[in-house]
């Protein structure tokens, strides 16, 4: 990596601190914090589940973050190590290095960051860099970012840099500008208004040289977005529209059609009741700092999936949805209601209900058949909805039965297009019904047993599944858990396999160590809305995390 300047940077920072007082005095006014994690797995070959031999036998991922803050000043580094990366991690992660380092200072209304940074404009439709260490997702910028508040209520951000791609950079240069206006702070006549208004606008462009022999490609591609976030009492409306000029790329098969996205979320809530309605349309809106890249690499923007993010094993990892960058229309309704204590349904301890409905469809397109001429690709009616990619209706009841027993019961009905979402051509759509009972029994203040029984019933894909989880916790330090996932409905009797796993862990203050042994089903592993495909594996897994 090209981080030769880092040493100089650190030297400067220390010099900066040392000029006024003694070095130690200055350091003592600040604080170093950070975290460390190492995950290692010993792999066993397991032909029953299709877990292949791993030549290294042991693989590991680790990192250490150090952040020093002192008033308005902070700097940090992250060392990462992949020896070699765990199975399912992006293969680009190999070896060791300083993958992240930065320095920031805030002086009155100005804030300056040099080095790596994560940033988001509005809802992220034109710009968002972020990290999900658990997935190996990291598109951090490396460059310069300036934030400035010329007067109360107005915030300006300008940035430029290149994006991280494993231990290297993407080819393109990214430049961005963002303005946020808090109207109630900026304008005297709105100061006392009950309506809180936030307006924002962004412009982001990328530069990448055109070295393509087939097409004449735009070397600079700009995108723009405008948004409003309005709150009045219990109601909130958040809407954003984004537009991108023509950006032929591997994602869109090098067509010259411009891209656009619309994102609207509204909510109403009061004590004991909450409702969210959301809609989204994105059309040809993949935006990367290298037009030839795919997967999760070098994405400049973020198009959130408008589906419920499930947490129960069978629901969360068998058929999770991820946004289709090339085109999608999605809707979601989410409701939460609390039946009061003493009411008919609430009973002695009350009861909560959560309902969620979401659907994601293709946009409706008409091909222009112009791939040999103008390459505009297709036209699309704004309000026409195309084929269903994903549907999810689910209900969750949470109920406390007594001081010792409480439960949460979930029903979900899913439609899932394997062909589109997982890229399995010709695979049938999956229609699945899922039922989950999650019951906790508290023996006393410290000891509790949580059990999950999950069933997934479907005629398609691998058929029916059941999961049983037993988790015993001894507060505040210990846990032990056993889980078995059983593919009892597989048409092929040889594949009616048990995926058992036993795990235990200890934690104290900021430190945690856990060990598990068993089988990991091939599937989709998601954190925070981004997913990756993980192959089947079997073996012993160790994880140590520490925050300080």
């Amino acid at each position: 990596m090209r981080f030769k300047g880092s040493l100089l940077l650190f030297g400067l920072l220390f010099a900066f601190g040392a000029q006024a007082q003694s070095f130690e005095e200055v350091m003592n006014q600040g604080k170093i914090r950070g975290n460390f994690q190492i995950e290692a797995q010993y792999y066993e070959e397991d032909s029953t589940i299709g877990a292949q031999e791993v030549p290294e036998q042991i693989l590991s991922n680790g990192f250490l973050n150090l952040v020093y803050t002192n008033g308005g000043f902070s700097m940090g580094v992250r060392y990462e190590s992949y020896q070699n990366a765990l199975l399912g991690y992006p293969e680009g992660y190999q070896g060791n290095g300083i993958a992240y380092r930065y320095a920031t200072y805030v002086k009155d209304e100005l804030s300056v960051t040099v080095g790596n940074f994560y940033e988001q404009f509005g809802n992220g439709l034109v710009f968002r860099t972020y990290e999900e260490r658990g997935l190996g997702y990291d598109n951090a910028m490396d460059g310069v970012r300036i934030k400035y508040r010329p007067f109360k209520g107005l915030e300006l951000t300008a940035l430029t840099g290149k994006q991280r791609l494993f231990f290297d950079y993407g080819e393109g240069i990214v430049r961005g500008f963002n303005a946020e206006l808090y109207a109630n702070d900026a304008f005297e006549f709105l100061k006392e208004s009950k309506t809180r208004i936030l307006l924002g606008g962004s412009a982001v462009s990328k530069y990448q040289a055109d070295q393509d022999s087939r097409y004449v490609l735009p070397e600079n591609v700009a995108s723009f977005s405008g948004r409003a976030n309005i709150t009045r009492g219990k109601v909130n409306v958040n809407a954003e529209y984004a537009y991108k000029i023509n950006d032929p790329s591997a994602d869109n098969n090098y067509i010259y059609k411009p891209g656009e996205a619309l994102f609207i979320q509204t909510s109403y809530s009061q004590k004991g009741f909450g409702l969210v309605l959301a809609a989204k349309r994105n059309d040809n809106m993949s935006f990367r700092s290298d037009r030839t890249e795919g997967l999760q690499n070098l994405l400049i923007n973020f198009l959130p999936a408008l589906t419920k993010q499930h947490t129960y094993n069978l629901l969360a990892t068998l058929y999770p949805y991820a946004t289709q960058l090339n085109g999608e229309m999605a809707f979601q309704a989410d409701l939460i209601y609390k039946f009061k204590k003493g009411s008919v349904l609430g009973g002695k301890n009350g009861m909560d209900i959560q309902m969620n409905y979401s659907t994601a469809n293709n946009i409706d397109t008409t091909s222009l058949n112009d791939l040999d001429t103008k390459r505009n690709g297709y036209t699309s009616d704004y309000f026409d909805v195309g084929e269903v990619y994903f549907k999810d209706f689910n209900v969750q009841l949470t109920k406390k039965f007594s001081k010792k027993v409480k439960g949460r019961f979930t029903y979900a009905n899913l439609v899932y297009d394997q062909d589109i979402i997982e890229g399995k051509p010709g695979a049938p759509k999956v229609y699945a019904n899922i039922g989950i009972a999650d019951v906790t029994y508290k023996f006393n203040i410290r000891n509790a047993l949580r059990t999950e029984a999950q069933f997934l019933v479907t005629e398609q894909d691998n058929g029916d599944w059941a999961t049983l989880l037993l988790e015993y916790t001894y507060s505040p330090h210990w846990y032990i858990a056993f889980m078995d996932q059983y593919n009892y409905g597989n048409e092929d009797p040889d594949r009616q396999v048990h995926y058992y796993n036993i795990s235990g862990g200890y934690n104290n203050k900021g430190n945690r160590i856990s060990l598990s042994y068993g089988r990991q089903r091939a599937g989709i592993f998601c954190v925070g809305g981004v997913c990756r495909v993980v192959p089947a594996s079997s073996g012993l897994y160790l994880s140590i995390t520490s925050s300080f």
Binding site: I32, L64, Y68, S74, G124, N236, S267, G274, D352, Q354
Partner: protein
Amino acid sequence: MKHFKLFLTVIGLAISSLAWAQGQNNSIPEVDIQNLNGTTFSTGDIKNDGKPIIINFWATWCSPCKRELNNITEMYDTWVDETGVKLVAISIDDTRNMAKVAPYVNGKGWEYDVYIDPNGDFKRALGVNNIPHTFLVDGQGQIVWQHNSYNEGDEYELYELVQKLAEGEKID
């Protein structure tokens, strides 16, 4: 190894940090996060008049986080009456789920101060890796304790520590 010098610097920093840890100022780092209506909020403004503060990182997609905060809710009134403690819940939800935070908080009847850290700035500044992650801040605004993960019943240990802080005792 090209970055050996830099690597040494990092290790040096780490060791130095341990040596300095005793006398250090361990106040809440100042970064910008968001109110539930999307406006900016500086974490330097997390204050509680010399009484203890609990800072808890959670997300709408994190089951143990929600179990923890829902369990605390049942006792929160008593906690506040007895110790004056304030719980600040920091959601790390991103755009996908941000709109669900306020309805969830109100729907569950939480009385905590809730903010959103969509860019992860506060999370990084405090060295948070996985959630739930809880910090305890004493009456002088110093972070004195932290805990990662949630086991059923952990709130009793947390409250014992809060009571100690409220009475001016040190915890280690």
